[in-house]
């Protein structure tokens, strides 16, 4: 069915107006934090992600969590506030799985940017402590259904530890779901040495191996009871060696990815995540066989090589899915565009990815990969009641997201500077 004809001009305007309409619902409106009381969402198609679609179902939210979910026969607790959302769809909040939301406002204004540190080994850097709860970028992202972010520090070979955060909360502590999520390693980009065993080790590779060996020595020395000055950088790397902290390896091209696979094999690091470009599709079978999960960006990138087909990046997610790789789709870290993450998944659908897998790749899949699937990523009992209500498929740009709820509270978009400016100038009296 075409879009035109199905929704009238007035329909579009009404949907757009609903984006900002402040529907007052009991006491659960406006405030940040954890919702109290019981709210029931009735009549929507519940796109659970982990349990199919429940048509015209009922979802019960209590104390910020999903308390019950089921079809129309599900019991509505007495005294609950009922939100009638018949004809709408509910999806779990999406996750921007390679992000710096909250760590930057205006790219060119250095004072507003806290993303990259100097130095080679920044393993002791924590991303979450630099999150501004009132960053101008958070509400626009939430308006697109993106309610969580995996925020990643940059800079150096080891750039620090990432965190999974909610995009709303009173402060970074309140916003943090888990931290540290993983230690980040920017794998040296040495080009390709091929089978040349004699190829000299690059400076970066040497630094990586030294840091790693030092951490192992540091651990051994401490275990042996030697009195050593505490070194948090080495401790973080040691945590990875000991299996107490996961490693996320950034690799942008095939040779870097292959070198990373080889290196982690040598170092016996078994539980790690690849964060990289659509080049991962070239290694899909190996990644599937080794059960290496992938956070994949550059789906909307221009093919890097002239011989690649025009749609090689668009079709990479479909190739990962076909090979059985566990993967999440993400935009580049530039978070001004985080609200468009669902459309990246939509582009993957146009080029071979199953629509359900596409939704999963920005919800449950990143939650699983990042180890927070017990708390978010799907509509299921016990998980955070953070979801959005839309009038159609959220992978489609023309779909309107009418309401966003975080931990049982309705998000107030009146606070969004973008919408404030819109309304101010939309309503400007026409000049004489």
């Amino acid at each position: 069915m075409s879009f035109i004809g199905s929704i009238s001009k007035t329909g579009y305007r009404a949907a757009a107006a609903a984006l900002v309409a402040s529907v007052v619902i009991a006491s659960a409106v406006g405030a940040q934090g954890l919702g109290s009381g019981t709210t029931v969402f009735r009549g929507a198609d519940l796109h659970t992600v982990d349990n199919g679609v429940i048509s015209g179902g009922i979802m019960v939210v209590r104390d910020g969590k999903i308390a019950a979910i089921g079809d129309s026969s599900t019991a509505v607790p007495a005294g609950a506030t009922v939100v009638d959302v018949a004809g709408q769809r509910i999806y779990p909040g999406f996750i921007h799985s390679y992000s710096n939301l909250g760590m930057s406002d205006i790219d060119s204004v250095r004072g507003s940017v806290d993303i990259g540190e100097i130095g080679d080994n920044n393993a002791d850097i924590q991303a979450e402590v630099a999150v501004s709860a009132d960053s101008i970028r958070l509400l626009p992202a939430m308006g697109g259904g993106v309610l969580y972010a995996h925020i990643v520090p940059e800079g150096g070979i080891f750039s620090g530890t990432s965190a999974v955060i909610r995009l709303e909360g009173w402060n970074w502590e309140d916003m943090t779901v888990t931290a540290p999520t993983a230690l980040h390693l920017s794998f040296p980009n040495d080009g390709d040495a091929g089978d040349d065993e004699e190829a000299p080790e690059s400076k970066a590779m040497k630094a990586l191996n030294e840091a790693f060996d030092q951490a192992a020595d540091y651990g051994a020395a401490r275990e042996a009871g030697l009195r050593l000055d505490a070194d948090r950088k080495l401790q973080r790397v040691l945590d990875v060696i000991n299996g107490d902290l996961r490693l996320i390896v950034h690799a942008d091209n095939v040779s870097q990815m292959e070198a990373a696979i080889k290196w982690t094999d040598e170092k016996e690091i078994n539980d790690w995540i690849l964060l990289g470009t659509t080049d991962a599709a070239y290694l899909a079978e190996e990644l599937a066989a080794k059960k290496i999960p992938v956070l994949m960006e550059t789906v909307l990138g221009i093919p890097g090589r002239d011989f690649e087909s025009y749609d090689s990046n668009f079709s990479a997610p479909g190739k990962l899915a076909a090979a059985g790789v566990q993967f999440a789709l993400t935009g580049q870290a530039d978070t001004a565009f985080a609200r468009n993450v669902p459309f990246i998944a939509g582009m993957a659908v146009a080029h071979g990815l199953d629509p359900e897998a596409a939704i999963r790749s920005i919800s449950l899949a990143p939650a699983e990969i990042l180890g927070v699937a017990d708390q978010l990523g799907s509509l299921s009992v016990g998980k955070e009641a953070s979801f959005f209500i839309a009038n159609g498929d959220p992978l489609e740009i023309v779909t309107a997201i009418d309401q966003v709820w975080m931990r049982g509270l309705k998000v107030d978009f009146e606070r969004d500077q973008q919408r404030q400016l819109w309304k101010k100038y939309r309503d400007r009296p026409t000049s004489p």
Binding site: S2, F3, Y12, A336, I397, L421, S431
Partner: protein
Amino acid sequence: MKCSTPMILGATVLLSALAVSASFAQPDPQAFRSGTPEQPAVVLVQNATVWTSGPQGILEGADLLVRNGKIDRVDKGLRAPRNAVVIDGTGKHVTPGLIDAHSHTAADGGLNEGSNIITAEVTIEDVVNHEEANIYRELAGGLTAANVLHGSANSIGGRNAVIKYRWGLSSAGMFFGAKPGIKFALGENPKQSNWGSANRYPNTRSGVANSIRSSFEEALDYRAAQKEYAEKSKARADLIPPKPNHQLDVILEILDGKRLVHSHSYRADEILMLLRLCEEYGVKIASLQHVLEGYKVADEIAAHGAGASTFSDWWAYKYEVRDAIPYNGAIMHDRGVVVSFNSDDAELARRMNLEAAKAVRYGGVDPAEAFKFVTLNPAIQLQVDDRIGSLEKGKDADFVVWSGSPMSTASVAEQTWVDGRKYFDREADLAMRERVAAERQSLIDEILAEAASEEAAEEDGETGGDTPDTPDTPDTLDTPDADPDSGGQATLRDWYDFFVAVAKGQAR
């Protein structure tokens, strides 16, 4: 297709070698097409949803009839003329070819002449690279024309090039007679806010304004001097004419309304400044580019009559786009400004149909009107709407066949036609890549086999590596001839042979 790494690397080595050879020889083995695709006398797309971007609006179950490269009719129930190329449009959507009013695609380097604040003497037409693969990639996203602009380092920058995506033709073959234009720029870029140093005048928005005014005044003085010379030299033979000034000649074209102004701008203050300054000199701005705070002065822009070519949803990358909102297009449209969405980016230019959808999402613009943001409206801004931008009788047959709604992320462009010629066909592309993959594989196998045999020879104690073992090295290194069997284009294989010959010649 799955690639093992040696394949990729082998192919990379080979192809980069080919790219080097291609720089001094024609045709480019990377080009998917050489020359012009045929133009059928009659093309009929039947039973499609046709987004005309014209007075007919959107018609379901409609037919598009093309004759000799021009739109003939859009109507229902058309009977196929004899010998018509018929395309079954059932379930498909047809739109005009998309137009990008702000592009840098095919501009081969040299986007910014940063030395001076006024550089009207340079032109993008000099640096259009017709071999740039992004032209093809954008065709594959339904784009058929673009306004290729100079960068934004100058308040009055270089002249533009409006091109049609006739992939395979020379750069001159892509020009189609559009009225010439020029890039202006305001704000942080010309005042060098984000440069390492800021030692060039101007450093303020006020200074940017004055640089434009000074240039206009200088041009008027130059004209006055020319006139004075023309008058006085009738009576006297000993006068020296004013020194020709190519830059000021171009500024005079602006003042005479012979050259369109496309001005990069962000903030409401600088937009208003330029409107008023240009009005003083009788200059009407064709398009404000980016114009991200245009929504704050939408009435003023509408009254001046300037078009607004904006981003759908870019913001936050620098301070002057802090107040950029995705509702910008909708507000300006509602207040009577002709609005387009541009790419400014070869990546985004591949999916401008989806940018149009953002005008529906943000601000609720009617879908048919929103789609004009990437078809008719940029054509109006570039003053080429008599030729392109809508599916109306007599216009160029630049159109796209989509697998579904052009506003759906799930749709792909299946065919892109320019001048009634099919420049992109997804089916043909899919078939071609299989052929290319097979050819690449055979070449790589050959390279690997050669390497293995050389290695074996070395192990046998022979010195096969230094002496070419084939006596058939050509005396002169002719570039491969076009092979009539491959549609007049040298095949990858031809180039491989050529490359091997070059390598051996050098070894000797």
